[in-house]
Amino acid sequence: MKVVVAVKRVIDYNVKVRVKNDESGIETVNVKMSMNPFDEIAVEEAIRLHEAGIATEVIAVSLGEAKCAETIRTALAMGADRGIHVKTDEELQPLAVAKLLKAICEKEKPDMVIVGKQAIDDDCSQTGQMLAALMGWAQGTFASKVEINDGKAQITREIDGGLETVELSMPIVVTTDLRLNEPRYASLPNIMKAKKKQIDEYSPEDLNIDATPRLKTLRVDEPPPRKGGGKVADVAELVDKLKNEAGVI
């Protein structure tokens, strides 16, 4: 069974992002970039399926600027077998990413694609479901457990009220939730080995996909600041304030 994982290069989750002065977007110059945390979980899950003898090959795919190759190398160092880089400097939105991933799926014919449940930059939570739709496949979104048996997958999903389990016919798309696994760190020898692994490069044109953004960003603003910092001395003052000043209890 072949597994494709999608890994997005995003601003590191520890960075406090800043809106550009001209309100056109977010400052990305000299900002630390990392693999989207949910995609680390996706890579880890694929590697575990490989180690369990269920997956035969794990292919890490990233789409975007030249430096996405670094994100692919990270996935290779974690244990993915080879990489695919769809290279473009244009902005890619979820529907375009899903179409490009579909083109890759048609070439590679995987039985499973694992993506993050959400990219922590655009917070869209769309790509996996869109890919599943375009392929006509079933989807196991927000997965906290993945089990594969005789061409079927049992996926435990995190839903608003608790947990839900569904059974899906392969091939499938899985989107990862935080508690699916804990991603490993790449060891130094594996980082060295990863340098020799193969990364194929395509452009959106090579794949015959029109990746033009459908959604125009008119402006980006800072959210209105919150005036915090007030203190109370003890619980008596707290209850008094909540009751008589804020009127919320």
Binding site: Y13, L95, I159, D177, L178, P223, V235, L238, K243, A246
Partner: protein
């Protein structure tokens, strides 16, 4: 042309978030609003929906295919109905997020996720980077699929008049998925996303057992109980308690954060609350920067003291 709102429900009761989504639909000013209730034995839900103010029709599909909200058949059904609508709206809940992108991709149109404001029928404000920035976005596709942040819109009112129910047949069954089971967290307390007050515990709680200290306070003021990711990951409380960028977004009148440091991912889920209280022993904790009332202290002393103070001052759940 008109707007379709997909109702969220459990076959018995319509979920409150649907009412917020209807308000967003009204704000579009894009024509009549119809509500789709698809489920199994969902007649009572459809009847509840008929009384939502501002809608013109309820369309009901009562079929076993939709009993558990599986995305594959559900999206196929919505796509089959899509030609009548310029906008298709769902709540930005786990079920809305599961279905909406599937619908958008099958229609080859853009999805606008988690909108917080409607500026016009094609221009919206939505949070990016965990709400650390707000993007104003415009979509020119002939049809739009939209998910709505419930806490950013009021609930539509319930009227005395009722619109009609149109019954429809089932759509295609892709036959690629089936429902196995559910394990729902049972609680007598108010549901997190709609609670008027939320009290959340973090890693500072140290164990699941200690959460009874949070619950004692919550019960005095009629609050729902939430948690940080660290508390959930440590197994103190179930997964669906998580408040934050990747958990639930809440905006209650009062949010009380106990033993929570205030990471941006947590703030993303609660910083739109009207009043924020933080109890933390570290006076440098970032949570204090957003708190209206910060109490520096050890939660193991402060929580029992707070419970008795609420008792003493005669505070009751509203």
């Amino acid at each position: 042309m008109s707007v379709l709102v997909i109702a969220e429900h459990d076959n018995h009761e319509i979920k409150g978030a649907t009412l917020n989504t209807v308000t967003a639909a009204i704000a579009l000013g894009a024509g009549d609003i119809e509500v789709l209730v698809a489920g199994q034995n969902c007649q009572t839900v459809a009847e509840q929906a008929t009384a939502i103010n501002g809608i013109s029709k309820v369309r009901m599909v009562d079929n076993g295919l939709y009993g558990n909200g599986l995305a594959e058949p559900f999206a196929a059904l919505v796509v089959g109905l899509a030609k009548d609508y310029t906008h298709i709206l769902l709540s930005h809940t786990t079920s809305g997020k599961n279905v909406a992108p599937r619908v958008a991709a099958l229609l080859d149109v853009v999805q606008v996720s988690d909108i917080m404001e409607v500026q016009s029928s094609n221009t919206f404000v939505r949070p990016i980077y965990a709400g650390n920035a707000l993007a104003t976005v415009q979509a020119d596709d002939p049809k739009l699929v939209i998910t709505v942040r419930s806490t950013a819109f009021e609930k539509a009112e319930i009227s005395d008049e009722q619109v009609t129910i149109e019954t429809l047949g089932a759509g295609d069954n892709p036959e690629i998925s089936s429902f196995v089971g559910q394990e729902l967290t049972r609680s007598e307390r108010p549901e997190l996303t709609s609670a008027r007050i939320v009290v959340s515990g973090g890693r500072g709680m140290q164990s699941g057992d200690n959460f009874h200290l949070v619950e004692a306070v919550a019960d005095k003021i009629g609050a729902g109980v939430g948690a940080s990711r660290a508390a959930v990951d440590a197994g103190y409380v179930p997964n669906d308690y998580q408040v934050g960028q990747t958990g639930k977004i809440v905006a209650p009148e009062l949010y009380v954060a106990v033993g929570i440091s205030g990471a941006i991912q947590h703030l993303a889920g609660m910083k739109d609350s009207k009043v924020i209280v933080a109890i933390n022993k570290d006076e440098e904790a970032p949570i204090f920067q957003v708190a209206d009332y910060g109490l520096v202290g050890d939660l193991f002393e402060e929580l029992p003291a707070l419970t008795s103070e609420l008792e003493k001052q005669g505070i009751k759940p509203r």
